[in-house]
């Protein structure tokens, strides 16, 4: 009789989609990083007026939001891998993973407040 190993609630997600997502989000973040660097170098530094104008631009707000989503998705996979490698008790691992998700959700919420909140 063939017995399959039990799937763990907080084990690996048995697929390559996280692996792929980590790489796609990495490329998105790399492009955004080079954009920020390019803008800073092109203008010979960043002063308040330029910075304010940049973040008043709708397209830049959206690009920044997409960067932040990519960052949080990327960080979720990476941090989850760390918990999976070093934390063996299932309960503790689940708790840490849950805290990670909450932190990332808070980061995204904070980003929305910064980008579209009243100032």
């Amino acid at each position: 009789m063939v017995t399959r190993p039990l799937r763990q609630a907080v084990g690996a997600h048995y697929g390559w989609k996280d692996w792929l997502a980590q790489r796609v989000t990495a490329v998105v973040m790399a492009v955004y990083t080079l954009l920020v660097l390019g803008i800073a170098l092109w203008n010979g530094g960043v002063d308040y007026a330029l910075w304010k104008a940049l973040f008043a631009n709708g397209a830049w707000k959206l690009a920044t939001f997409v960067f932040m989503l990519a960052l949080c998705w990327h960080a979720w996979i990476g941090v989850r891998d760390i918990w999976m490698d070093y934390v063996k008790p299932v309960g503790l691992r689940l708790a840490l993973e849950a805290l990670t998700v909450l932190a990332l959700a808070a980061y995204v919420g904070w980003t929305v407040q910064i980008l579209w909140g009243a100032r």
Partner: protein, 132 residues
């Protein structure tokens, strides 16, 4: 069943002496990639958001953030995060290339891991020199 047919059973689990193993350079780069990633997640993202929020608040807040970052302690923290970001960035590009089977033989992979360490440290040095 003759002795020849019997599968070789190795004693398991195998315990590795982690302290006795010398981690090769690609292993060090990989571990630092993980460490820098963890630091960026735990401290880097909230500090970045705090800085962006502050910088967009008003011209005075923008200036006070500038002066906080100009403080020696602010500079040290900045350099630390710049290294973490640069190392994570460079090591990440290396992993992407390895995934595409670029330079994934043993010798080139060792050379590229040395390059990642060198480039991220050199760029951090450039930023550090400009800051001081």
């Amino acid at each position: 069943m003759s002795a020849l047919d019997r599968p070789v059973v190795r004693p398991r689990p195998v315990y590795l002496n982690l302290i006795g193993i010398r981690l090769p350079l690609p292993g060090i780069v990989s571990f630092l990639h993980r460490v820098s990633g963890a630091v960026l997640f735990l401290l880097g993202i909230p500090l970045l958001l705090l800085a962006v929020q502050c910088s967009l608040g008003s011209a005075e807040q923008f200036a006070s953030l500038r002066s906080a970052l100009a403080h020696p302690l602010g500079k040290l923290v900045t350099i630390g995060f710049v290294w973490a970001y640069l190392h994570h960035f460079c090591a990440g590009i290396r992993f992407l290339l390895l995934d595409l089977h670029v330079a994934d033989d043993l010798a080139p992979a060792r050379r590229s891991s040395a390059a990642v360490l060198a480039v991220s440290l050199a760029l951090t040095l450039v930023v550090g020199v400009r800051l001081w």
